[in-house]
């Protein structure tokens, strides 16, 4: 797209078209479902942890392109990483998407995931990008089901759609 700030960059569209690690892991050690009731985005995440290391990770679900590409790139980013490193990425991604991390000047580990930085200018789309990360956080903490609208949810940021 002509506008460099535009969200729908080729890398995002590519991950939407050909999502990586798409499917369900056999013999998963951790699993969680993520749901955004406001737009119907829904995804299931399965993980295999070898000790503290994310040995394998996969996702399935129905969602918008932003959510699907975010999930795809997330699985690629955390595969092989230690649980602590994954939790750091979750925090950094959330802070970038909500605009509290100035990723241009502050150190971070996001790499190409910064293509999602544009969502911070689209408040109604922030949750689409965050949902997979939110679900990963739940899976790592053995919470089997999570929603962007749960009241005790630390990532809860109400955005009207009703």
């Amino acid at each position: 797209m002509a506008d460099p700030k535009a969200l729908y960059q080729e890398v995002i569209l590519d991950h939407n078209r050909k999502p990586r690690n798409f499917g369900v892991l056999e013999g998963a050690t951790h699993k969680a479902e993520g749901h955004n009731p406001l737009c119907g985005d829904h995804l299931t995440l399965t993980l295999k942890l070898d000790g503290e290391k994310v040995d394998a990770i996969a996702f399935t679900g129905e969602s918008c392109a932003i959510c699907k590409a975010s999930a795809s790139m997330m699985t690629a980013a955390v595969k092989g990483k230690a649980r602590g490193e994954a939790e750091t990425l979750i925090r950094e991604f959330r802070d970038m998407a909500t605009g509290t991390l100035d990723f241009a000047t502050r150190p971070h580990h996001l790499g190409r995931l910064t293509v999602f930085a544009g969502v911070r200018d689209l408040p109604t789309r922030v949750k689409c990008a965050i949902l997979p990360w939110h679900t990963l956080h739940a899976a790592l903490n053995s919470v089997t089901s999570t929603s962007t609208e749960a009241e005790d949810d630390p990532m809860h940021a109400p955005i009207g759609d009703a």
Binding site: C64, A65, T124, R125, C128
Partner: protein
């Protein structure tokens, strides 16, 4: 509608869209440097300059509390507020002005009927008929009542075009049926429901009917006496008026039998700690200081709409809908959801392989405002097995060029996702 080219041209000539657009200052707003194409009118409409001016004039020269003071400003404000009520009475052709209640909007109007009528007259084992098309605001209050009273909700199904199955509606009636709630025009699909027939059928069985007119009042001439509905609720902000104001029409005899919804000032005749005597209608239902400016603004809005002419508005919007339907149908990979024979100017659609939220974000980059989501009508989404739709909804100030912009925007979305 007969859409012969001649009829089309004549009707368009009847409504000078460019002149009307000049009355709406917000239509000059640029979005990311592009002209705004506002196609989210079913969510909220825009306000013309005469209504804005009326609000300013009220605040500058006429404001005081109403029905209270003996001083000059209070009398002026009271007079203008009650005059606004009479304007709304004429707009929907109610018999009397006391049948027209000011509410905060459609939602409050329906809740008022639930509390004022439902809680008094609907009991255990009674049945309430609603339809699959209803907005959440005409579902949830009745569910709350059903839960409280042990009443039951029966739902009229729809066909694949998004039309109510009237045979099924008629079959739902039995001796326990106590109430019907139905929307006049579907916000999600645009279907115009045969409410007049449905009301007559219910009345023949002694059952009162509430019509949710939120999407009808802005788009078609509404005559509550002709419909013979018991209640008719709609919102000001979808009608070129301010937010925070709406109308509930109710038949006087029914309103008089009902219990008040909210207690407070202005809804009473006398208060002692032993006994309170309620005021007469409509005041019995207007506790507290109402949104006076908004009510007067809504009066100015229906003046404006009446001057343009609701018949002309409806005809122009049907032209827009027919043109948009034809153009969107011509784009491969786009499916229109809601293909009722009788529709108002709402076009819900799905682009194959693209989630509605992505459609909405990309159209916004072209300056086009549409609604994406479930439209507060999740049962409709479930019926069509989609999580959400993209919805363009038109108003009389929209132009054919804006339909072209929408169609170009849809093609652009497809290009991005190709």
């Amino acid at each position: 509608m007969n859409a012969t080219p001649t009829a089309f041209k004549d009707r368009s000539a009847a409504l000078d869209v460019e002149r009307i657009r000049a009355d709406f200052p917000i239509l000059k707003v640029k979005v990311g440097g592009k002209p705004l194409v506002y196609l989210d009118n079913a969510a909220s409409s825009q306000m013309p300059q005469p209504v804005i001016d009326r609000l300013v004039r009220y605040q500058q020269f006429e404001h005081a509390n109403i029905h209270r003071g003996v001083h000059h400003l209070s009398e002026v404000a009271t007079g203008e507020y009650e005059e606004a009520r009479r304007k709304l009475q004429r707009f929907i052709n109610a018999r009397e002005d006391r049948e027209v209640l000011f509410t905060s909007g459609t939602t409050e109007g329906i809740n008022l009927v639930m509390h004022g009528y439902g809680r008094k007259f609907i009991g255990k084992g009674d049945e309430i008929i609603l339809t699959t098309l209803e907005h959440h605001s005409n579902i949830v209050p009745w569910q709350m009542l059903a839960e409280e009273k042990g009443a039951k909700i029966r739902v009229v199904p729809i066909n694949d075009a998004g039309e109510l199955l009237i045979d099924e509606y008629e079959k739902l009636f039995n001796e326990r049926t106590k109430f019907v709630g139905v929307m006049h025009v579907s916000n999600a699909l645009g279907t115009v429901n045969p409410v007049k027939h449905m009301i007559a059928f219910a009345h023949a069985r002694g059952v009162p009917v509430l019509v949710d007119g939120a999407q009808a009042a802005p788009h078609l001439p509404v005559d509550v006496q002709d419909l013979d509905c018991d209640f008719y609720a709609f919102s000001g902000h979808k009608l070129c008026g301010p937010t925070g104001i709406g109308i509930l029409y109710g038949k006087a005899a029914t309103l008089e039998r009902m219990q008040p919804f909210k207690g407070g000032g202005d809804m009473i005749l006398s208060v002692t700690f032993e006994k309170t005597t309620y005021n007469t209608i409509p005041h019995k239902f207007e506790a507290g200081t109402p949104p006076i400016a908004a009510a007067i603004g809504l009066g100015a809005a229906v003046d404006y709409l009446s001057a343009v002419g609701m018949d002309k508005i409806a005809a122009h919007e049907i032209d827009l809908l027919n043109y948009a339907t034809e153009q969107v149908n011509g784009v491969p990979g786009v499916r229109i959801i809601g293909t009722a024979e009788k529709k108002a100017a709402v076009l819900s659609f799905a682009i194959a392989g693209v989630h509605p939220h992505d459609v909405g974000t990309l159209l916004n980059q072209d300056g086009i405002a549409i609604r994406t989501g479930h439209h507060c009508a999740q049962p409709v989404m479930q019926r069509f097995k989609v999580p959400a739709t993209s919805r363009a909804s038109f108003a009389f100030y929209n132009s054919m060029a804006e339909v072209d912009a929408l169609v170009a925007g849809i093609r652009n979305v497809q290009k991005v996702f190709a």
